[in-house]
């Protein structure tokens, strides 16, 4: 079987290791890189290296950052008394992009998943409890996913945080905006009815 020149092959092989990239897509990407200018290719290589060299976890909230503490933790305009707990930096970004939330965050880096062998000790829970001891937090928002794992994590945190006398809230779950009641499943509808509020 004939193959491409060795440098091309090794680029294809490296790209194939990325999630969701098969050999065909890797081939297309490799040829795109090959056709692009040297400076573009260098910029790509530099960006990859930079992300590995400069990105670390914020020592307070454990979000991904290139400066410690991260810009959110450093921002004096943000409310110090509200803390939103999320599973991942992507969840943090999704909430941040709404522009509605003005408090701070704590990233757990996962959720309790017994079938994957992930217990509370694998998450940034110890660090969260230390923060709650030190900082004057008045409300904790549990914004883990409404999955079995996210739910288990929220239940675990409830047991830990409730005795501290801090107000504890869970993000609402129910019918998505633009959704249709007719096509909603029973469990979502039940949640929506349970979480109804006076208007």
């Amino acid at each position: 079987m004939s193959s491409y020149a060795k440098p091309i092959e090794s680029l294809i092989e490296a790209l194939t290791r990325l999630p969701g990239i098969g050999r065909k897509t890797a081939l297309r990407l490799a040829f795109h890189i090959l056709r692009s200018s040297l400076s573009e290719a260098q910029a790509l290589a530099r960006a990859i290296l930079e992300v590995k060299e400069k990105i670390r976890l914020c020592s307070l909230c454990f979000n991904l950052t290139d400066e410690d503490p991260c810009p959110i933790c450093k921002d004096e305009q943000r409310l110090k008394e509200i803390l939103c707990i999320v599973e991942s930096p992507n969840d943090l970004m999704a909430i941040e992009n709404t522009g509605v939330y003005r408090g701070r965050y704590h990233v757990l880096h996962g959720a309790i998943a017994p079938l994957e062998g992930i217990g509370p000790e694998h998450l940034k829970i110890k660090e969260l409890m230390e923060r709650l001891q030190k900082e004057k937090v008045k409300e904790v928002i549990l914004a883990t996913n409404p999955t079995v794992e996210g739910g288990a994590t929220a239940l675990y945190l409830t047991d830990l945080i409730k005795p501290l006398g801090i107000k504890l809230t869970r993000i609402a779950s129910g019918i998505p905006v633009g959704g249709e009641i007719e096509y909603s499943d029973g469990m979502t509808l039940t949640k929506a009815l349970e979480g109804r509020r006076e208007v």
Binding site: G20, G119, V148, L155, G179
Partner: protein
Amino acid sequence: MPLFRTEAIVIRSLPYGESDRILTFFTRDFGKLKGVAKGARRSKKRFQNTLSLFTYLRLIFFEREGMGLVRVEGADLLQAFPKIRESLKKIYYGNYSLELINEMAGEREPNREAFELLFSFLSNLESEEPKEEWLRMFEVKVLSLFGYRPHLTRCGLCQKGWKELEGEPSLFFSIEKGSLICSSCSKNYNSLFRLSLGTARLLDEISQGDFRKLERFRFTPQALSESREFLPRFIEHQLGKELKSLKTLKSLYR
């Protein structure tokens, strides 16, 4: 391509790629099945919430030649067990039952009794406050339904039965032998767990009993602590691997 239909319980669910999900089902008619649900993470309408852990559903799938994974075509929700998700203890118990079935069951080997067992275990979890003895009963039943029933009626070496063993100062269970061992034969074995005659009798009766009528079995504190020690270890020995969910489960005993 023919479509197949069967009742199934989701025993594992993992995200795959950008929008798919790889699932393991324990089905009534086909035993354990692994499948892929295309677009399950994006399309809220097609599978709705049917493909999360514990869900009992009517599965519609087709086979793809040369592929180990079936393609999930549809899933109608039959029971979501919402109460299990509201208690950490129930989630831990439920996860353990799913892992045991997943590890014990062979792919495409139907085992209707084991399906009924899992379904009634989850139904009990849904409706009542869980008791630790449920776990022990589930373990014994799973072992016997998949052909690993521990031998508890006589000493595995000298063959002395319950009657003759009554005066023995102490009895043991040998993980390697998978059997009851009397004190005089015990020096021939390592990894022994203390097991009283009462516990051996109880567990043997459970292994042959109907799971839906298990409330009639009563565990003494001694029977509970003895079976808690040896049953999970015996299962891990049979599987040749550690059970991942056991660690989180143990945190409940502390």
